[in-house]
Symmetry: C2
């Protein structure tokens, strides 16, 4: 039995993502019959049924689900290959894909990246807002800005510094509700916070417990979202008191820091796949990111 055509994996992934032959055909620029034939061919080659056909689409079997991560890995690697090929050798041009948290991506990176693009006009930047380090290994991004120290051997990481977090609220909110005199008074306020308790959140809560034993346990969470960015917007809009970056709040005239003794800090890192050190375009972006973020962290 010969190795199946690698294109079959691409159409497999498209069918998994879209849920139907027709939709997959549209995204792939093929037609529904060919996509169907690809699936048939792959099923025959692998010896498993991959989908149960029905008139309103295909439902993937467990076998297809098991193969999905591999197909995704193929797809991201192929995309990374194309990015690598997007630049001439030795030139700072082409596409670089950056991954960062939403707040960093929206509030901090734009000036840094626009300056970078002024310096290298033939450079394109793709920005993916997500928070896992996995995506560097899977090559979903070339460079990542992260708040945890990368522990992967295959990554190059540079430590940027520490970002300070503090409690903030909008003036409009404080005009209505007044300012809390101490941490215990927070129970009387509307709080903006996280929706789901991730490992990172649990760790943060632990740190808060240690550093600020007065921090109340049961707060009145009136606005919960897992997006830091949405939290920031909510605080700005006067929805309540929440935690955000101190440096960021200083730039916003209508945000006030509360109880400045309460403070959390986030270590910040910029990480990149080791292989990409050879690539001038990635190295240029890496260096510019480090420089710009260090400026941001140290800014008064």
């Amino acid at each position: 039995m010969n190795e199946p055509d690698w294109n079959l994996y691409r159409t497999l992934l498209a069918v998994l993502e879209t849920g139907s032959l027709s939709a997959a055909a549209r995204t792939l620029g093929l037609t529904q019959p060919t996509v169907g034939r690809h699936v048939d061919e792959l099923e025959q080659a692998l010896g498993h049924a991959l989908f149960t056909r029905s008139q309103q689409g295909l439902r993937p079997t467990d076998a297809a689900q098991a193969l999905r991560p591999y197909a995704e890995s193929l797809s991201t690697t192929a995309a990374a290959l194309l990015r690598e090929a997007s630049s001439a050798i030795g030139a700072v041009e082409g596409v670089v894909r950056i991954s960062a948290s939403d707040v960093i991506g929206v509030e901090v990176l734009p000036p840094i990246l626009s300056q970078l693009q002024a310096a290298y006009p033939r450079l394109s930047v793709e920005l993916s807002l997500s928070d896992t380090l996995q995506d560097l290994l899977r090559r979903e991004a070339d460079i990542a800005v992260r708040m945890t120290k990368p522990r992967q051997d295959a990554l190059v990481a540079r430590h940027i510094g520490t970002i300070e977090l503090g409690l903030h609220a909008a003036r409009s909110y404080l005009d209505r509700k007044g300012s809390p005199a101490d941490l215990k008074a927070l129970t009387e306020h509307h709080m903006v916070g996280f929706d789901h308790e991730t490992a990172f959140i649990r760790a943060s809560i632990e740190i808060i417990r240690q550093q600020a034993p007065d921090f109340p346990q049961n707060l009145h969470w009136t606005y919960r979202t897992d997006s830091n960015l949405a939290q920031l917007s909510a605080i700005r809009a006067g929805a309540g008191i929440g935690i955000c970056q101190v440096k960021l709040a200083q730039r916003q005239p209508n945000l006030v820091r509360l109880l400045p003794d309460f403070s959390l800090s986030l270590d910040t890192w910029v990480a990149m796949h080791e292989n990409l050190r050879q690539s001038p375009r990635c190295k240029a972006v890496f260096d510019a990111l480090c420089e710009g973020l260090i400026d941001y962290v140290r800014s008064a």
Copy 2:
């Protein structure tokens, strides 16, 4: 511009590996003209020359070299996908690829694996003898036996125990040359050791320095090889005194341990990609490997 056919990457890799269109065509089961056309097509799609043609083969350009790791990653991932597809859902069958050092692979694993295959007749094991942890992330193997603690987040690792290393020689050698009375006497002997000084070797030398200050600096290395397995064979054949696993030497009637106060220890780990925990065939092999190796380490 459309995304290039993924098959083009496969032929690119084959051409890079074989060094000629014709040879690549043979390994791919295609013909030389099609391989040539694939390369042309890819060059056009990427906008780079990938090879400089000549009558005695193709020389890859820097651009092609830069793409090589990506193509290799595609290839290993496609192979991993096929392995995953080689087993029915929930069944312990199909192909599992194990990576281990040469000594472990040749001397320790066979009984463990043959027992495993007796338990699961539809299971196939591929054994790759290499020593880097990288290959797990690149999916070059499903499971690895390693002598260093894995630091990758994406890996599941289990600690097996400590393997003791000691100085050994064959009786035939000792009959000719006599036994060294102490470490200093090693300078009078033929020694079997490593060829290149890797990071691991340097670390080991450092440990030796600390634990055995008497260990001579300048030994008479008469047999150098980077393969542990070849070292073991050389010691067995009476080429000289060398370091090998104590447990392993105990099984060999003609090997004698020398200066038993001298001892090194290696921490042993079995590691696997986190995703594969879902896969019964990998989990079964992982568990069997752990059990078998623990038995080996603890055996009298």
